[in-house]
Amino acid sequence: MIAFKNIKKISDFEWEIEKTYRKGMIVPVRVFASEEIIKGSLDDNSLEQAVNSTFLPGLRGHFCVMPDVHQGYGFPIGGVAASDFETGVITPGGIGYDINCGVRLLSSDIPYDLAAPLLEDLALLLFQNCPSGVGKRGIAHLSSKDFQNICTHGSNWALKNGYATPTDIEFTEDNGCIPGADLNAVSPRAIERGIAQSGSLGSGNHFVEVDVVEEIFDEKSARIMGLTKNNLVVQIHSGSRGFGHQVCTDFVREFQPLNSKYRFNIPDRELVCAPIQSKEGQKYLSAMSCAANFAFCNRQLLSSVIRDTFEEVYFKETNKFHLRLVYDLAHNIGKVETHNINGKKQKVCVHRKGATRAFGPGSPEVPEKYRQIGQPVLIPGSMGTASWVMTGSETAMKKSFGSSCHGAGRVMSRTQAKKRVRGETLLKQLMEKGVFIRAGSISGVAEEAPEAYKNIDLVVESAVGAGLVNKVAKLRPVVVIKG
């Protein structure tokens, strides 16, 4: 097991586990976190998992660990790795089962004071209108042709069918569509699961949250993003549902024989991988892109329902009930990108598992509106606590393949959380703080209790301290919908 003495300090928020720590490591591990967070992460296997992940052939630079790190399976959550596009590998375990799980933020011109008397109604109607919970069917009833189009065209299907505006597409990462998606690479089982669930939230830590912009740290960036102090905003956290889960399951199984076929030395079967340029690697990329496009469209469909719900609740109070998309991003994904590594431009496949793209100012991939300030980075906190809106930085481009943290990160297991926290008590406490929660399961609420997670403010301070992101605004929750 890794001990604190095995971790070399580079600066207050940057640490390294050197390549010499274990024979077979291809790159070192670089951890972006405070000493307190690093010491906390030693009580689980997350850094061991980071070390295991460095065995993946063709990795470049270093394996990055974000301050919200916690133990996952295969990669740790909060892990980022870049593998050479020509000679490296792609691993489904470095992307996760919920392919393109991500977050979007919508802004509004509705002031909290005007909204407050109707927030309880809003919570009830959002809960009613957004399908949530285990295996729930989605709002869209799709034909096979529709599903194929969603997988191939992502959010553009939603635009064509009246669920999106052109600006929604503009402000979604990759314009809501990753090229190269091919449904022929996907199993019939995955398709069957996906058709039923398009436009659904899911369960676990997925949510719809209405927040108030509590504090602004960067007036210019906030203005460009359309964020105004004391106005309502909405966050949606969901992914590719059973479709993505099945795609990942299929390929983790399909890749099992590849360890011996390609003579890889991978210490964890969950990290099985294929050379990116092999037929197996290309097939996975095509299938993963289908699931990613499905997830972009899924969050778009949920946005459409939420917009309708806002109109229904607030149209008598204001004519400014429209919700504008600030940004939509993926935090479980593999992306082909070009980065400057050791002074040389290299085309790599960046695996982000529980990590957010955080491209800095000037990046051509960032929408023109944000190109001057850097990509909006959305870091939701745990249930009932603050969330943060940030921007990506030049430092992130140099140090972390343009990546940052994606949330708070767990410190307590679900079982522990349920032992320590009573769901009913927590709901009451949050109600007293002015947070209306509607959830499918009381025990699910206890599992997601704030004390089960790291303090989001400390995680954000680490990311800022490491220079990966800059603060724009802090959000305070007022309505939470959970599956």
Binding site: Q71, G74, G204, P257, D268, M412, S413, S443
Partner: protein, 138 residues
């Protein structure tokens, strides 16, 4: 006789983000049957107590771990379609699993399992008892 065995069918062990079980059994097929019970325990699955319909799951896999992941994944899918399975006979021979099941409609599921993972899974036999760890993505 079963109650006298010095180990449970399965036990839940702490995992920070997901769910983890240690499964015990006196034979390989028993490990599989107990893993189903453990997975359903995590899901908090409740059936409708209606008439049971007999069914069968047959699958092939290159090794025991892949077979276990595949078998549990199949049951996860059945649960998503509203069916709970009760395994009443299970044979494994030459990398082929043949399970006879009773299918009953699901009344409710408390927790969604996204996937059965290979992470840290290794079926071993120690002192005549088979055991393995299973980590589920929640």
């Amino acid at each position: 006789m079963k109650a006298l065995l010095p180990f449970p069918d399965f036990e839940e062990i702490p995992h920070k983000a997901d769910a983890a079980l240690i499964i015990y059994g006196l034979s390989l097929p028993e490990i599989f049957s107990h893993a189903v019970l453990g997975m359903y325990h995590i899901m908090g699955i409740i059936d409708k107590n209606q008439r049971k319909v007999e069914g069968r799951i047959v699958l092939q896999a290159s090794d025991s771990e892949t077979m276990l992941v595949t078998f549990l994944t199949e049951l996860l899918f059945l649960a998503e379609t509203g069916i709970k399975a009760e395994v009443f006979e299970l044979n494994i021979n030459r990398n082929i699993l043949n399970a006879k099941i009773y299918k009953t409609p699901v009344s409710s599921i408390a927790k969604e399992i996204k996937a059965v993972t290979f992470n840290e899974m290794r079926i071993i036999k120690k002192d005549d008892v088979y055991q393995t760890k299973i980590i589920f993505d929640i």
